[in-house]
């Protein structure tokens, strides 16, 4: 980044939001087609009923809840990078945090759809919200599902606010170079920011407190998501390690998604000066560290099932590895425990193509982790006569594909219309212009 100047940062990052090319248009249209198919699948489910999903007793939570946990997890790395690494003053975050934060908001927006899709009668979703009604019935605040409503909606609100606030000084830069409707949009989004000392003073103070509030929030949200499972007495779910295990897994999958998104972005927009070996090396270390935590959790789960002496627990975990869904378990172990071990070598961490491939494997592995935890545990419940295999239907797979398209639709719009890198924060780690160098 030594070659960069303040002016060059403006030029390079504003280049990204130039009017879309035809390649972007084709990509966006393809994405909309997949999304359209997902919406059709959902419409079919609403019209026909939840029976079109592959739910079969005892597997009454399946791909939709898998997707919910997967997408909430993806969001966590964004908050880790934008808030936790901000508090620790990790300077490598400055180039990647905007994309990671955008990813968080879009991932949580995607995750939030799945409990509603899973409801079946989606029009009754408002029953989740505590509101006065004629029968004086309130929601049950002792239920982890109600905690989830509060946790996920708080997370979406705070991460969106954090994202929008972070954009203010950079959108002001875009405003100064835009014309027409874009100028109006950027003027609105920048709150007419002018970078006065008064504005910076209160802005920086508030930003620190957003980071301070978002840090415990990120740990709480996935803990609450894990308690959706751990608070039940279902074998395979009822475990005290679920909260830290889920949080580490969320950061692990989120970092992988950041790498998956940043590698093509770097190539397409020629961002080599902004995303160098240093950034991928640092992200590789986080990936490796969280992979080791997740691997430890897989091992300790197995150990507890054996050492705890609970026959049902033992049976579930034996079935998990060697039963009818063993293939999914071993995909999970290979992608989440073995492949990320390559990141031990610095030459791999700084090899951008290798990191991209590893991140794809981790994304796949982490989706399967949630699938295994949810579906396999339910399919191998207490009474033997209820044991039943589950396979997703085309409706569930269509909605899942649609959720990816929904996420990428927002992401594609984001990189084309908003500064996808934090201009002001990148400038902060560059040498100041001028001779006296007040820093």
């Amino acid at each position: 980044m030594a070659k960069l100047t303040y002016s060059k940062v403006n030029q390079d990052i504003l280049k990204m939001i130039r009017p879309p090319t035809s390649a972007w248009g084709i990509l966006f249209l393809t994405d909309l087609m997949v999304l359209g198919f997902g919406i059709l699948c959902f419409a079919w489910q609403v019209y026909t009923g939840l029976g079109v999903a592959g739910y079969t007793r005892p597997v009454m939570w399946a791909v939709y809840i898998t997707n919910f946990v997967f997408w909430v997890g993806i969001g966590h790395a964004g908050t880790l990078i934008s808030a936790v690494l901000f508090l620790f003053r990790a300077r490598f975050r400055n180039s990647i945090y905007r994309t990671a934060e955008g990813m968080t908001v879009f991932a949580v927006m995607t995750a939030g759809l799945f409990p509603l899709i899973h409801l079946g009668r989606v029009w009754n979703f408002y029953w989740l919200i505590p509101y006065p009604n004629q029968r004086q019935l309130w929601t049950n605040f002792r239920s982890p599902l109600e905690w989830d409503v509060f946790a996920v909606s708080t997370y979406l609100t705070i991460s969106s606010v954090f994202f929008i606030v972070g954009l203010i000084p950079d959108v002001a830069v875009a405003r100064e170079h835009a014309t027409g409707w874009r100028k109006k949009l950027y003027t609105l989004l920048s709150f007419n920011w002018r970078g006065t000392d008064r504005q910076w003073k209160h802005y920086n103070n508030a930003y620190t407190y957003f980071a301070a509030l978002a840090t415990p929030l990120v740990f709480s949200v996935h803990s609450v998501v894990s308690w959706d499972f751990a608070m039940s007495i279902n074998p395979g779910w009822h475990s005290t390690i679920f909260a830290p295990y889920f949080v580490a897994g969320a950061i692990f999958s989120g970092i992988a998604m950041v790498i998956t998104l940043m590698v093509p972005m770097r190539k397409i927009f020629n961002l080599e000066d902004y995303l160098g070996d240093w950034h991928f090396d640092s992200m590789g270390k986080i990936l490796l560290f969280t992979s080791l935590i997740v691997s430890y959790a897989y091992a300790i789960e197995m150990f507890l099932a054996w050492y705890g002496g609970n026959v049902y627990e033992k049976s579930v975990f034996w079935d998990r590895a060697f039963g009818h869904m063993g293939w999914a378990y071993w995909i999970m172990v290979t992608c989440n425990c073995l492949i990320p071990l390559l990141c031990i070598k610095k030459s791999i961490r700084t090899n951008i193509m290798a990191m991209f491939v590893i991140s794809i494997f981790v994304n796949i592995g982490m989706w399967f982790e949630r699938f295994v935890i949810i579906v396999q545990s339910l399919s191998h419940n207490f009474p033997v006569f209820t044991w039943k295999a589950y396979a997703p239907t085309w409706v569930e797979l269509g909605i899942t594909a649609g959720s990816f398209a929904w996420f990428f639709m927002f992401f594609l719009l984001f990189v084309k219309f908003l500064p996808a890198m934090a201009i002001a924060e990148i400038k902060e780690i560059l040498p100041m212009p001028g001779k006296k160098r007040a820093a």
Partner: protein, 171 residues
Amino acid sequence: MSAKRQGVLAIFEDPGSVVDAIKALKSGGRRKFSVMTPVPNHDIAEAIDTSQSPVRWCTFIGGVVGGTLGFLLCAWTSLDWPLITNGKEIVSIPPFMVIVFECTVLIGGLTNLFAMLFFAGLPDIVQGEAFDSRFTEDRFGIWVPCGRQDAEAVAATMRANGAEEVRVEAA
């Protein structure tokens, strides 16, 4: 949108010169001026004003109010329709703590946002300072509101401290 403004706008390339110019303005008895920068700068911030932003207190109060409201919501609704499960307390503190925490963060975060907007004067509709688009790129600016009679002296101070461009704005 721009208001009627009178004053001097000085544009600097060097943040060190901005610090010198601020010191010169202060030693000349001027307290009312604004500095515009593309990035926050500690030296400039310290030269202007070392007081703490009140945003933190608003955030703290917002968090406390949010947590309290969260607890009251859980306790009141549970007492409104008492449903005893497993012989547990109607007002069960441990499970309610999740809601208390989320409400603390939610209301604290929103208060933080609104306090920041309020104290920073955003959205900046008044636009009390003259502005140059280079302040979002690589230049630093000082806006000194003053009458015509003072404008020349202020401009001279700015030039003496390294301003690369000085503009006098008259209403």
